[in-house]
């Protein structure tokens, strides 16, 4: 007997087999990427040796290398970096997406910006060494957009502070009478990270133990090196006599503005003894 509708049956069968073959072809050609050598990834290296300072930000320069010897282009490939210091996020950066065609090897040069302004209040990394926690990852799509993939790695990198030392040597200060007032001179040391460039102005302010201003001064220091200098304060006669006659705790506030407007402040309490100073 003649069976009607076999054409429709054939169409459904062919469509089903076609979809299955398309699936298998895409799956198998994608799996070829896991064959050693087909997908090459040169992971980016992030450490302080690649740091540079520009416009108030620290930039970490690195390179991501990707080679594609598979059967499908890798599209929308991007590198993302998140960095935090003591739980404070200083970077959340993603490179613009690139395409790595079949048979191509691409190197993506990356400058990861780290915004240190949020650290100014905590002092972490500014005056103290800190562990920077990095999360570095790559993400992309392949197989004509049918497959998305990604990998990320979290690690900690110890980083020296931007300002390893900033000291005012009160113990070696000299207090001299200058007319009706006193002139108080003492050595200071400021050391800044080697990748910092340019000059900065430091402001040193000293308060006595009741919070009254003793004196203040400013000095221009070159960045990226160790600087030894002398700070001179003009002190009123009354304050000079007070300092010359009794030991007390003084508060030394050091304000420093790094290029780009990143202002940092360090405040320490120093015991002042006129007999020893």
């Amino acid at each position: 007997m003649q069976v009607k509708g076999r054409g429709a049956l054939l169409i459904v069968r062919i469509a089903g087999i076609g979809a299955l073959l398309a699936f298998m072809a895409l799956a198998l050609t994608t799996m070829a990427l896991v064959i050693p050598g087909n997908l090459e990834i040169l992971p980016p290296e992030l450490d302080a040796t690649s740091a540079r300072f520009q416009d108030g930000r620290v930039y970490l320069d690195t390179t991501l290398g990707v080679g594609n010897n598979g059967y499908h282009d890798i599209t929308d490939l991007s590198l993302f970096v998140q960095a935090s210091v003591a739980g404070i996020q200083v970077s959340d950066y993603r490179t613009p997406p690139v395409t790595v065609s079949v048979g191509q090897r691409t190197f993506i040069n990356v400058s990861v910006p780290m915004d240190l302004a949020p650290l100014a209040s905590s002092g972490a990394l500014i005056f103290l060494p800190a562990n920077v926690e990095f999360t570095v990852g790559v993400a992309g799509t392949t197989t004509r957009g049918f497959i998305s993939f990604g990998a990320s790695f979290t690690f900690q990198q110890p980083v020296d502070p931007l300002i390893p030392q900033a000291n005012l040597d009160l113990a070696n200060g000299t207090l001299a009478v200058n007319g009706t007032a006193f002139q108080w001179t003492m050595p200071y040391t400021v050391e800044t990270a080697s990748f910092l460039q340019g000059n900065t102005t430091i402001r040193i302010t000293i308060f006595n133990e009741t919070g009254v201003l003793v004196g203040n001064t400013t000095a221009v220091v070159p960045l990226g090196t160790l600087v030894n200098g002398n700070a001179t304060f003009q002190v009123t006669a009354a304050m000079g006599l007070d300092l010359a006659t009794r030991p007390q705790n003084l508060t030394v506030r050091l304000e420093l503005v790094l290029p780009g407007g990143l202002g940092v402040t360090d405040e320490t309490v120093v015991a002042w003894d006129p007999g020893g100073g």
Binding site: V3, G5, A8, L26
Partner: protein, 160 residues
């Protein structure tokens, strides 16, 4: 006249479906700890091994439904029903074994993710077209089957 029931085809179909949906996956899972055990963290290994609890029931389901599908001749409602059920069971097998097309794991401090759910949609389309095939086949062969089975029944082939 072609037989209405095919026990031989049922056995062959059961074996043909048991191999990809039960035997090979279970063999792979049982072999995995010996091959990759030293390289995989225990939590990842146990997660992979737990797939056995999905593969076995769904795979056996696919096998039984495949046998029942092949047992019934073309044009029988049983073939259409079990055939559609078999395809849906295959879809469920793939969906659950491949976790919907999204795999993420942490390995030696590296987090990895693979999202291939769009690719699985093509497989789902193939499976659903397979289910549609059994439905279309039922309507195409129903009249022929009835005419052959009940030649004196003047209602044969008519709407039921």
């Amino acid at each position: 006249m072609e037989s209405r029931y095919h026990p031989g085809r049922a056995v062959v179909s059961a074996i043909a479906n048991a191999i990809p949906f039960v035997i090979l996956p279970i063999f792979a899972l049982r072999t995995l700890p010996n091959l990759l055990g030293p390289f995989l963290p225990p939590e990842v290994l146990s997660e992979v091994l737990s797939l056995e609890s999905i593969i076995l029931p769904l795979g056996i389901g696919v096998t039984i439904l495949a046998a029942l599908t092949a047992f019934f001749g073309k044009g029988l409602a049983g073939r259409a029903a079990f055939g559609t059920g078999r395809q849906l069971a295959k879809l469920a097998w793939v969906y659950f074994v491949f976790t919907g097309g999204l795999i993420s794991l942490s390995l030696l401090g590296v987090s990895l993710f693979l999202d291939f759910h769009l690719l699985l949609y093509i497989f789902y389309a193939a499976v659903l077209l397979g289910a549609l095939y059994f439905v279309v086949e039922y309507f195409v062969y129903r009249r022929a089957y009835r005419m052959a089975a009940y030649p004196t029944d003047h209602y044969a082939g008519g709407p039921t």
